[in-house]
Symmetry: C2
Subunit: 156 residues, 2 copies
DNA sequence: ATACAATATGAATAAAATTCGTATTTAAAG
DNA sequence: CTTTAAATACGAATTTTATTCATATTGTAT
C-alpha cells in the first residue's frame, strides 16, 4: 500500500500540514515533482482524506464540550441522522451493547447545552439520555501512529 | 476580535485547508497580500491553531474506536497524563460529577483494545473502567459553526 | 536476461507566496 | 465634524513554489 518514504511524507504532513511541497521534498531528499506525485496518489487512494484547519473553539463561543449517552429503541439510521443533523453535534457513534449512541457536543455554555439536550430527548426512538459535561480536556488529537509502519513495502 | 471577512476566510479554509492563498483572495475579492496578512494575524492570535492532514485510520490498522469511562480516586494530573501518554489514546476528558475521565481510543482490533484496557486498569487511582466499543461512526467532525458570527465587528 | 510498468529526475514554465512602499480606510480624540 | 494616528489594503517587484513533461532509472514479473 505504501512504503517508508510515504510514511515519512505523512509524518511531515501530520506535523504541519500547510508546509510547502518543496520543503517536504527537501526533508525526504527527493525531487519536488516526485513528492507531489506521491502525495497525489495518497490522496487518490484515500489514505489522505483531506486537509483541515484547526480553529480555537473558545474563540467562537464553543468552549463547552459534553458527551451524551443516548439510549434508544433500536438503532435506526433515522435517529443517527437526526442527531448528526444538530449543528452542535460533533460526533455520533453507534456503540456495541444496549442500543444507543454516544454523542459528542460542543456549545457556548450550559444554557445552550440544556437547549440541545431538550432537543435530543423528544427525538423518536430516544429512551433516555445521560450527559457528561467536560470540565477539562487533557488530550485531544487525531494523529495516527505511523511508527509501526516502517517495515511495510509496496505490495499490490 | 474578527470581522466578516475573517469569518469568510475561515469558512473557506474549513472547507479545504490546503487551498492556495491566491485562491482565497479571489474568493473574498481582496489582494493576496491582504489575505495573507489576515491569516497571519488569525494564526498569531491563536484563532487558527494549526493545519492538519486527515488520514484514513483504517489504512494504518487503527480501525477500531472505543470510549472508556475511567472512574478514579480523585482527579490527579497524574492519572490524566498517564492516560494521555498511551499512544492509542486520542482524547482524555475530565468530566463533571463522580471523579473520572472519559477516554477515546483507537486501536487495530479487539485484541489490541483488550491489551490497552489491561494497561489502564492497574494505573494508580483507577477504581473501575467501563468500555464502549464503537460499531459505527455516523458523524465525526471538528468543524466550528461560523454562521452566527457574521455580525461581529472588530472591537478591542 | 528481457520487457513492462512504476517511479524519479531535472529543466522549463506557470502560479503562488512574500515583501514593501504607498494609498486608503478606520477609529479615536479634539 | 475635522484632525490625527493606527490599522489595513493595494499593487508592483521579487523570491519561492507548483506543475508539467520528456527522459532516465528502478523495480518486478515472466
Amino acid at each position: 500500500m505504501f512504503d517508508e518514504i510515504d510514511i515519512h511524507i505523512l509524518e511531515i504532513l501530520q506535523e504541519k500540514a500547510r508546509i510547502p511541497n518543496a520543503e517536504v521534498a527537501r526533508q525526504v531528499g527527493m525531487a519536488p515533482s516526485a513528492v507531489l506525485e506521491r502525495i497525489r496518489k495518497l490522496e487518490e487512494r484515500g489514505i489522505i482524506e483531506g486537509y483541515e484547519v484547526r480553529l480555537n473553539p473558545a474563540c467562537f463561543h464553543q468552549g463547552l464540550s459534553a458527551f451524551v449517552q443516548v439510549e434508544t429503541d433500536g438503532t435506526d439510521a433515522q435517529i443517527a441522522s437526526a442527531l448528526a443533523a444538530i449543528t452542535s453535534v460533533q460526533e455520533v457513534h453507534q456503540v456495541v451493547g444496549p442500543d444507543g449512541f454516544l454523542v459528542k457536543l460542543r456549545t457556548a455554555d450550559h444554557t445552550t447545552l440544556a437547549r440541545i439536550l431538550q432537543q435530543i430527548r423528544p427525538l423518536p426512538g430516544v429512551k433516555s439520555i445521560r450527559t457528561q459535561v467536560v470540565l477539562d480536556t487533557v488530550k485531544e488529537t487525531r494523529r495516527v501512529d505511523l511508527t509501526e509502519h516502517n517495515g511495510n513495502s509496496r505490495h499490490s
